[in-house]
């Protein structure tokens, strides 16, 4: 079970997404860069050139290494690229949330949580 200590420090959101999603979410004010010398950002811009390994690394960093992130937002079409990682991710903290992007409308069939919901109700 998650203990109090496990999430009380988690106060940021992290995003892995395409440029438009990131721009919008940053405009909302979720962007955060840690103090130097780390200068760790809590967002990763993914385009066609970004390697899958880089996405995985960022996912790993946001979910496992950093202890100050409570919610990881990830564009669904990017989540598809690392689907096996998302599907095997079962921790409660940080929460991984798949969000639609501008050019890729939301498809509930692919969402790992919704699929679990479906499975539970035997649909």
């Amino acid at each position: 079970m998650a203990t109090q200590a496990d999430f009380k420090d988690r106060q940021f959101l992290a995003v892995i997404g395409d440029e438009d999603s990131i721009t919008g979410l940053l405009l909302a004010g979720i962007g955060h860069v840690t103090q130097p010398p780390d200068n760790q950002k809590n967002f990763l811009v993914v385009d066609n050139k970004t390697e899958t390994a880089a996405i995985e690394a960022a996912f790993e960093r946001f979910t496992t290494e950093r202890k100050d992130i409570g919610i990881v937002l990830i564009n669904q079409h990017i989540a598809d690229r690392i689907r096996h990682r998302i599907d095997t991710y079962t921790q409660a903290f940080p929460t991984v949330l798949e969000i639609p992007s501008k050019d890729h409308p939301y498809d509930p069939e692919k969402d790992s949580v919704l699929r679990r919901v479906r499975r539970l109700f035997g649909e």
């Binding site: 999430f7 438009d20 721009t23 919008g24 405009l27 949330l97 639609p100 992007s101």
Partner: protein, 265 residues
């Protein structure tokens, strides 16, 4: 559950019978409590799942509106501001904090969003052109993120509840299908063993009583015979006037008496 084989390793004594009975009682109470907890959680769980389903669908819509407001910004500013935004992001204005909610003894975390005052990384963005759209876009996205945070809370609750319900159901099933039958089996076993012992004891006692009766009867018969003999002796002694008390005298007397008898016969 293969009958007698599945029971606890206890000595079939009255004391352990008492312990087992207490245990059974405890298990039954626990079972009903857990069952109720599981039901409460499942109810909650279903509610959450329904809300997640709705929220996820709603999110698609919310994000579309937000995307459109970003398109407005691009329209008004006349260029892409993405890079500038990425570079000027420094400190999160929009943060979350986790609070807890108690559902049947399970602590469900819920995220709550708040905005820190007084740091605005993008105040100047679109100063010459499109600033108002940027402001609007920020508000729209802030609302969208709030919706996302809410959804994230639901999802976290979903994951945790899912886990907890599984654990609780496992316990309920364990109690129902393993612990209770096993305890019952143990009690049955102890009872049967104790009954067995009782029967054995009874039989033994009966045997002893029989033997005792037989022995008493034998002793009685002997006594009777002895008594009869003595009686006889006494009768003849009266004639011979032999005192029964004195040994040597008796011996001599007996001899004498034989002689006497001989004499008689």
């Amino acid at each position: 559950m293969s009958g007698a084989a599945d029971r606890e390793a206890v000595f079939p004594t009255r004391q352990s019978l008492g312990i087992m009975k207490a245990k059974l009682k405890g298990a039954e109470t626990g079972h009903s409590l857990l069952k109720r907890k599981s039901e409460a959680l499942t109810k909650r769980f279903r509610e959450i799942t329904r809300r997640i389903d709705e929220a996820k669908r709603k999110m698609g819509r919310v994000m579309q509106i937000a995307s459109l407001s970003l398109a407005e910004v691009t329209y008004a500013v006349g260029g892409n501001i993405g890079y500038q935004i990425q570079e000027s992001a420094k400190s999160a204005r929009f943060r979350i904090r986790a609070k807890q909610e108690n559902v049947s003894g399970v602590l469900l975390p819920a995220f709550e969003s708040y905005t820190t005052e007084g740091n605005n990384d993008f105040a100047m963005t679109g100063l010459g052109k499109g600033g108002q759209q940027v402001q609007r876009c920020r508000e729209t996205y802030a609302r969208a993120v709030e919706a996302l945070v809410e959804l994230a809370s639901l999802q976290t609750a979903f994951v945790i509840l899912d886990e907890v319900i599984k654990v609780v159901n496992r316990r309920v099933n364990a109690i129902e299908h393993v612990i209770i039958p096993r305890t019952e089996n143990t009690i049955k076993y102890i009872n049967s063993e104790l009954d067995e012992l009782d029967r054995e004891e009874f039989y033994r006692l009966k045997k002893v009583a029989n033997k005792k009766a037989r022995d008493t009867a034998a002793a009685d018969a002997e006594m009777k015979e002895k008594k009869a003999q003595q009686q006889l002796l006494l009768e003849s002694g009266q004639e011979n006037e032999v005192p029964a008390a004195e040994g040597p005298d008796t011996t001599t007397d007996i001899l004498a008496a034989e002689e006497d008898q001989d004499v008689i016969f």
